[in-house]
Amino acid sequence: MSATARPSQDSLWTRLLLIGGTVGFLTLFLFVPLALVFTEALRKGLQVYAEAITEENALSAIKLTLTVTAISVPLNAVFGVAAAWAIAKFSFKGKSLLLALIDLPFAVSPVVSGLVYVLLFGARGLFGPWLDEHNIQIIFAVPGMVLATVFVTFPFVARELIPLMQSQGNDEEYAALSLGASGWQTFRKVTLPNIKWALFYGIILCNARAMGEFGAVSVVSGHIRGETNTLPLHVEVLYNEYNSAAAFACASILSLLGLLTLALKTFIEWRAGLRRRHS
């Protein structure tokens, strides 16, 4: 191509400069830190790496992370579907307020997200004395960590489904009902297939955040090794004990999880032609 660049095209030099800037910035801020995680994890060899992730406390941290995730993600998925059904399929007063409230947890600092439950269920919280009397522990125990995780991952599924279902309208559901389908059949055979990719997408994002959440869970966790440490908290403990290799070994598992999430997310965007939205 000679001097005849199309008018909506930047000059070759501009393009090279900006592409170079982009590659440089992303390398510095994303790829180098990512590479460092794996380098540090394997610095002392595979043996140390394997020991770090199969050690008893690490395994129990993994188990706790999976438990917390396995409870909170389905809860938020069910909520997301219900909220999207109500908001997208019906008109009612206060809908935009409801929409704004659903997004609220994203605006709240993770630390505050954990704190709100301490204020409710902690020893000096509103329900503290009552819980104490009945010997129920929520804060510094698994229920509190589930609550905090549910809070921070609250909007993920709903905000993927609502705009999609709004744009799809109700025609297909009306058609199904007019053909004699029951409400449940209509949902299962018409609505669900139409939203399955968006639902999957929302669940993936929800899952990634649930497994990786640090701040909120840190506040409500008692930091008891082998009992109330999730994997991210375990990473913190190891790091603060200057056990860098083990900390990065555990971090590498979480990083792989993040990469897997990205890959799945990209795949769904490609597969379903979903528009990306920031979360």
């Binding site: 001097a3 005849t4 008018p7």
Partner: protein, 330 residues
Amino acid sequence: MSIVLKNIRRTFGTFQALRGINLEIADHQLVALLGPSGSGKTTLLRIIGGLDFPDPGNGTVSIHSEDVTEKPAADRKAGFVFQHYALFNHLSVFENVAFGLEVRPRPTRPSKEAIRDRVLELLRLVQLDGLEQRLPSELSGGQRQRVALARALAIDPKVLLLDEPFGALDAKVRKDLRRWLRSFHQEIGVTTVFVTHDQQEALELADVVVVMNQGQIEQTGSPQEVYDRPATPFVYEFLGDVNKVRKPGRPDLFYVRPHEVRILFAGDSSAEFHAKIEHLFAAGPSARLSLRLTDSRDTLDADMTRAQLEEMGLSEGDEVGLQLALTSKT
């Protein structure tokens, strides 16, 4: 000559959008590039305007005897009016029209007052005076069209290029604007090229019609020429309705327009063909007959006036005789 195009080729991937276009456009003419979608007419217009370029080494563009093939759009002074107007949404009507003057380098930029005068004059010319503070979103389609026109004229263009100028307007506005553009062109006299897929529009408006198909020019001529003496079967079919008729015992196709079919009584000895009226549609001053030829079983449309129809007392199912002014096109 105002615009001279020599042997222009343009390929997109494997698709040949233009396959060697040669065209000369005289000063002050109003020229229509007419063709179906995908015929390359818009690509050609964009190449004249410097928004696109011929394949390297394949063709030259001259405007006012200057070779501008390698010149970017910004240096061509070709006023371009886009199909969807491409008005700057964040700028007022005034600022849109002033844009081309305000982006000039300081030495050639007119003073603030001169720009103001020029813009207001142009807005008067396109009959939009008083709307200069509106945003594009506050205008009707026809008004936006005229803002786009004024904006293109503000740079004193050597040529004016319009891409489907009426494409986005509804039928009524379209007609009014068409008439207005015709007289407007006579007033300003700038060589104007517009792209259209609407043959009616091209024939009514243009001094010269360039009929394009599959990246090539099929015929160039006055509206009368291209309509009455189509150079190719494509032009014949694309401009107005046409019947394709075979003569018994001959393989070639003949073309005849509906208004060229003469309807006679069945027994008339000067009848060359015989046919049966399958359907008759009469509304307004003219009537259209769907006929089926007795010999070849071909179908054919014919137009006649309501008066003729009533005088002959024809109705559906009747047998008639036909005289056809046939031209072979194969």
